[in-house]
């Protein structure tokens, strides 16, 4: 009589979608997860994102060239975390104007809990003047007047950092919300996930079975291919095309 009770209780499938197996009902011991220790993290005095000016305090007199180099290729600054634990990583190049800044600031400040979280900008205020000609005029007549200012962002740069007594799961939601609205592809990352991403890239580069790599062909200029490639491709190794970052390439 007792042997039959020793086996765990099973429930038969009732819904039509269920497969033919029986579901085992087990009530186990609750696993109490030890909460994380945030002792070494301090919240600064002004935890929320600062207001970003539309126009720099000393507006530029000289109209600047388009200079798309500031979008092209991988970023050299703000590629690693400094203060916070989580952030938004740019996966493509682009320009952020004041509207983007306001959107980011309002969304993040709305979702931040100032007692336990803080956020920090990792991009400068708009500095690059963009000119626009007045509507309806023909070509010519000189360069247009300065219309607005933008910040150039290259691929691999952190836009902002969030930190505090919080976990990635809590923060990820609004960071992805913001990342989707940016003019370039972006994603929410934590210190750990960024590290993992870089290691995965490295792993792919190492175990690539293709004997022909872009780098190899371009450095040895096989088939005179450099005639159709740019000098920048030597450094970018086929992973970047203009402002775009080609993720699948190795």
């Amino acid at each position: 009589m007792w042997r039959g009770l020793a086996r765990p209780l099973r429930a038969l499938p009732t819904a039509p979608g269920d497969l033919s197996y029986t579901r085992v009902l087990i009530a186990g011991l609750k696993n109490f997860v030890i909460p994380q220790n945030y002792d070494n993290i301090s919240i600064p005095e002004r935890p929320k994102l600062k207001f970003i000016d539309k126009v720099p305090s000393v507006p530029k007199v000289r109209r600047e060239f388009k200079n798309l180099r500031d979008i092209r290729g991988p970023s050299t600054e703000a590629t690693d975390f400094t203060e916070g634990q989580y952030g938004i990583l740019a996966l493509g190049g682009g320009y952020l104007h004041w509207g983007h800044f306001e959107m980011i600031r309002l969304t993040i400040n709305r979702h931040l809990d100032p007692k336990i979280m803080f956020a920090v900008w990792r991009v400068p205020a708009p500095y690059k003047p963009i000119t626009r000609k007045s509507l309806g005029h023909r070509m010519g007549g000189g360069k247009g007047a300065i219309d607005h200012y933008v910040t150039a962002v290259k691929c691999g740069r952190l836009i902002l950092e969030v930190g505090g007594h919080c976990e990635f799961g809590e923060v990820e939601h609004f960071l992805t919300q913001v990342a989707k609205k940016l003019p370039f592809p972006a994603k929410a990352v934590s210190r750990q996930s960024l590290e993992e991403m870089r290691q995965a890239e490295e792993e792919r580069r190492r175990n690539n079975q293709n004997p022909w790599t872009f780098e190899r062909i371009i450095t040895s200029n096989m088939l005179g291919i450099r005639k159709v490639l740019s000098p920048y491709d030597l450094a970018q190794r086929g992973r970047y095309w203009g402002k775009f970052f080609l993720q699948d390439r190795v």
């Binding site: 175990n207 022909w212 790599t213 291919i225 390439r249």
Partner: protein, 268 residues
């Protein structure tokens, strides 16, 4: 993109490694061992301690009881140093399977509780359990003996240790007392008869010799009956039982009288 560049991009694409035997086939399916959390380890230790410290372990089925009734029951049991313990089955079962209480495994199946005590107080426990009908006794392990619920009830009805010890001593000393009685029986009987004869002789000097002779001829039962009755009324239960056994063995109420007289004399 220039067509040559397109071709270059197509040629230099990533090619993933493809082993001859896929990793799925070569690596064995090993379930990652879940690290036991601290609470489970603590419970294991507590279970081990509880089982080692207690002599009486009763397992009961634990249906829903109102909390105040449960609390009162625990309080009453605690006064007799009986503790009510709750452990999850998944902690207790591995411990039992490796210890000497293996045969208690079938009891730890559904919702249950354990009643443990370093002393053995079965009567009190049963009394308390009777007051709470929702908790029913499944089985117990008292002094390394596994008992069912009926076994526990009959265990509680056993006499106390002193009484049983007295019984054992009495049974053992039965033969020796018998021997003593048997050896003294003949002489005692004779002396009693002679006493009677002397009394008759002294008391019945006026009576004819024939009567005395008759009295002599029939010494035994007629004169000894009042002595027998007297003895039976005075003696304690223990002695009486012994006497009864003696008489049953020897086979005659007549022997009771002189023996009881002798014992009375020795007692006084």
């Amino acid at each position: 993109m220039h067509f040559e560049r397109q071709k270059l991009m197509a040629v230099t694409e990533y090619v993933a490694p493809k082993p001859a035997i896929p990793a799925v086939c070569s690596t064995p399916r090993v379930h990652a061992k879940k690290e036991e959390n601290g609470y489970a380890k603590l419970l294991h230790r507590q279970v081990a301690e509880a089982f080692q410290d207690s002599k009486m372990i009763a397992v009961c089925q634990h249906c829903f009881t109102p909390s105040d009734e449960m609390l009162m029951m625990q309080h009453r049991l605690r006064k007799h140093n009986i503790h009510v313990k709750f452990f999850p089955n998944e902690i207790v079962r591995p411990y039992l399977s490796t210890s000497k209480y293996k045969n208690l495994l079938p009891l730890f199946v559904a919702r249950n509780l354990m009643i443990m005590s370093p002393e053995i107080k079965v009567k009190e426990m049963l009394r308390m359990l009777k007051r709470v009908p929702q908790i029913s006794l499944l089985g117990a392990c008292i002094d390394d003996t596994i008992l069912s619920s009926q076994g526990v009830v009959s265990y509680s009805k056993l006499p106390s240790l002193e009484v049983t010890q007295g019984q054992v001593v009495g049974t053992l000393s039965l033969t020796t007392s018998q021997t003593c009685a048997l050896l003294q029986h003949g002489a005692g009987h004779l002396s009693a008869l002679l006493d009677q004869y002397v009394k008759q002789q002294s008391g019945g000097t006026g009576e004819p010799d024939g009567q005395a002779g008759e009295g002599q001829a029939e010494p035994g039962p007629a004169f000894l009956a009042p002595f027998i009755n007297h003895a039976l009324h005075i003696e304690t239960d223990g002695r009486k039982r012994v006497q009864g056994q003696v008489s049953s063995e020897v086979g005659g109420d007549s022997w009771e009288g002189p023996v009881s007289c002798l014992n009375q004399q020795t007692g006084s």
